[in-house]
């Protein structure tokens, strides 16, 4: 019997994602909190760098666009790490990046600071009290 040249992949793959969750405890407007960044870049392939960020989406995008410090923090990230997606699900808002293999699946101080800053805007818009760190 001939071997299939294009086997269909099945089962768990070596691709991981960490979702950074802000609990809302109630459903929120998807239009307001569904946000993705449009990255301005320089260079190609391995030398591709982020030079600017414009957030697209609802009121959360407006808040993130007004923060120059956040943009500055994101330009220090790699192109892959800067592709951050924010999406509301039932009872929570999830912030996550791209899929990573197990070798590269870890967190850096710089990336966590960006996620935490985005989460602070979400909490502010939800009217939650500020967190003492």
């Amino acid at each position: 019997m001939a071997q299939d040249l294009n086997p269909i992949p099945w089962g768990a793959q070596d691709r991981f994602q960490a979702h950074f969750i802000v609990k809302t405890n109630h459903d929120v407007s998807e239009e307001d909190f569904l946000v993705i960044p449009k990255l301005e870049t320089k260079g190609y392939f391995a030398s591709k760098r982020v030079t600017g960020v414009r957030w697209k989406g609802g009121i959360l995008a407006d808040a993130l666009n007004s923060d120059a410090e956040l943009e500055s923090m994101m330009t220090k990230l790699s192109y892959d790490d800067a592709q951050i997606c924010i999406e509301p699900t039932r009872g929570s808002i999830r912030i996550h990046g791209k899929w990573k293999d197990s070798y590269n699946f870890s967190m850096t101080k710089e990336l966590f600071a960006v996620y935490d800053r985005i989460a602070s805007y979400i909490k502010r818009l939800l009217g939650s009290p500020p967190v003492q760190s």
């Binding site: 793959q13 691709r15 802000v22 999406e87 699900t89 929570s92 870890s106 967190m107 101080k109 760190s133």
Partner: protein
């Protein structure tokens, strides 16, 4: 004898492994046992993006303290 695992090696869940990497950068994190949080029973994606995977594996939740982020969920594709 030599190909057996060392007595010091402990198999680690992916969320425990990620929890350790968070602790290393100074974040107060605690891995919870799998299937103990209500968020694990909800949808993990909004479904608004075309690249949402059809099937994922949940590896559990990590609880954070002193951060605006409440929890971290580890997900594997497939």
């Amino acid at each position: 004898m030599h190909d057996s695992e060392s007595d010091n090696s402990h198999p680690m869940n992916k969320n425990e492994e990620y929890c350790e990497s968070l602790k290393k950068i100074g974040i107060d994190a605690e891995a919870k046992p799998i299937d103990t949080d209500s968020l694990e029973k909800e949808n993990y994606y909004s479904g608004h993006f075309t690249n949402t995977p059809a099937m994922v594996t949940n590896h559990g939740i990590i609880k954070l303290k002193g951060s605006h982020i409440d929890e971290v969920q580890i997900i594997q594709k497939g």
